[in-house]
């Protein structure tokens, strides 16, 4: 392990941002659903939303739950790390097993993420740039081209193109959805009226307070 170059915190953070970009596809799908169906056909909207929620809450985490450790054990990193030329290796320099990858991703990172991610701060502090999750699972993140850069870049580009496509479709749907446009305008007007009261010259009228009815007795 001595001849390896350990990855810095910022490079690892960049890899994390790239992963977040991949995961952001959910937000775009949700936006598309909202803009396309809300106010237009509420039943279709609610139905789509329920399926989306089912996917977002259960199916998606389940896919990531398996996919991330598979990528780490097979190729040495998730999409972000592969693009940044980083590899997660065992302390003896070998690839992680699926079990160890699972442990690193879900249990060791649970500890590192506690107290608002204090465990990640150790990447700055330690010589071999290990966070708590690395120490707990006996792993290092090193700079090493894995040969999967092209595939990872293609995956990222596909997701970004999908996101862009969904964004364009959302804008088009919004422009074509007269009902939603009318509702949004009305709501914005209502909000505008209530949030900016002209208090400078306003004369408050006394409130017409009526006496409360006598409360019933219980004894």
């Amino acid at each position: 392990m001595d001849n390896k170059v350990f990855a810095s915190f910022w490079l690892r953070a960049l890899a994390h941002v790239l992963n977040a970009l991949v995961l952001s596809i959910d937000a775009f799908v949700l936006m598309y659903l909202v803009v396309s169906f809300l106010s237009y056909d509420v039943f279709v909207f609610i139905n789509s939303l329920l399926w989306f929620l089912l996917f977002a809450i259960f199916v998606r985490p389940f896919i990531w739950f398996l996919l991330w450790p598979v990528l780490i054990s097979e190729y040495g990193g998730d999409v972000g790390k592969l693009i940044c030329g980083l590899k997660i290796v065992h302390e003896d320099g070998s690839n992680l097993t699926f079990k160890r990858a699972m442990f690193r991703e879900y249990i060791a990172k649970m500890a590192a993420g506690a107290l608002f991610g204090i465990g990640y701060y150790w990447i700055f502090k330690t010589e071999k740039k290990q966070g708590w999750h690395d120490m707990l699972s006996d792993t290092y993140v090193v700079k090493e081209k894995s040969g999967r850069l092209f595939v990872s870049l293609v995956a990222l580009v596909v997701v970004l193109v999908l996101n862009a496509g969904l964004a364009v479709l959302s804008v088009r749907s919004y422009l074509g959805n007269e009902s939603l446009k009318r509702d949004v305008t009305s709501i914005l007007e209502e909000i505008g009226k209530s949030s900016s009261p002209d208090t400078s010259n306003k004369v408050y009228e006394p409130l017409d307070l009526k006496p409360l009815p006598t409360p019933p007795t219980f004894y």
Binding site: S39, F43, P61, D138, L212, P216
Partner: protein, 340 residues
Amino acid sequence: MKADYGKIINEAFRITFKNKWLWVFGLILAMGSSGGNFNIPDAPGSKTKDKDNRIETPGKVNDVYKRTFEDGLLKAGSVLGESTVSLREVGRRIPIYYWVVLGVFLLIAFVLVVGISIYARSYAYGSLVQGVDLENRGITADLSGMSKEGRRRAVEIVKLELLPMVLAFVDLFLLWVPMILVFMSEMSSGVKLFLGLVLLTLALVFLILLIIVSVSAGLGRIAVVLSDLSWRQAFKKGFYIFKKFFIDVVVMGIINCFTGFLFGLASCVILIPFMILIFIGIAGLALSPYAGVVLFPLFGIMIVALIILFTLISAIAKVFMESTWVLLYKQLIETEVPVG
């Protein structure tokens, strides 16, 4: 009594505050065992009350709230137009297979979350026991070393953790549920009373059994790591120690209950100055709405600080209490040799 509690507490205190890496495992345990109670208090007039007994107070808060809410809905209806539909209608139109798929996914998610949580807890226990033992022997344990041992022992400890859990489920479904069904049934009161008493006696016997199994499994957890035993051997050893040193174990349990109370008290003491500051802040907000610019970020920082402090206190408490059990176990087995 064989145990020297003064020595145990002093040593546990020293270990807890000397090696702060142990707190990492305390954190995992604290996160694994924490849980919120989201029950809404049964307020007068709430849905859980019998409708006939509900106290109607016209013109009071309920009514004002109801009127405001209804007015709001009417306004929203006029704004949203065709979007405003009754929830009942929406629910009727959701296909039945959606609920089936939802149920299946909920079940899978539940099993996964519980599984990960039990594994994480067992791993943290194993690592912590190893760390406390090493510190007690004067060897400074590092995070990686403790973690290795924890991972190696996690599966055996999971089996020990599952044992009382399975018993508790059996207890619930074989005794408590039938007891409720008996009382809800149309049987005569004499038969009900008889069956109820029989089931209650069985439930109490089962409860005592559950306590014995839980304590034996708890001591067995330590035996898995320190004596390098399988879960069966460790459980037997835990049971043997519990039986042989019953008073020592019970006293340690009482001491740890009191320690938990002290840690809770410490949390409350910490909370008081924060609460005073929050009240002062609210008063400031009442005087000038612009104070919010300064106060809201401050409140945010205070809440973050409180979360950190409480999590840390909870983690330290876990480490301290686990250390006392490990040290008690070591003291007790020093005098006794039999295994299994």
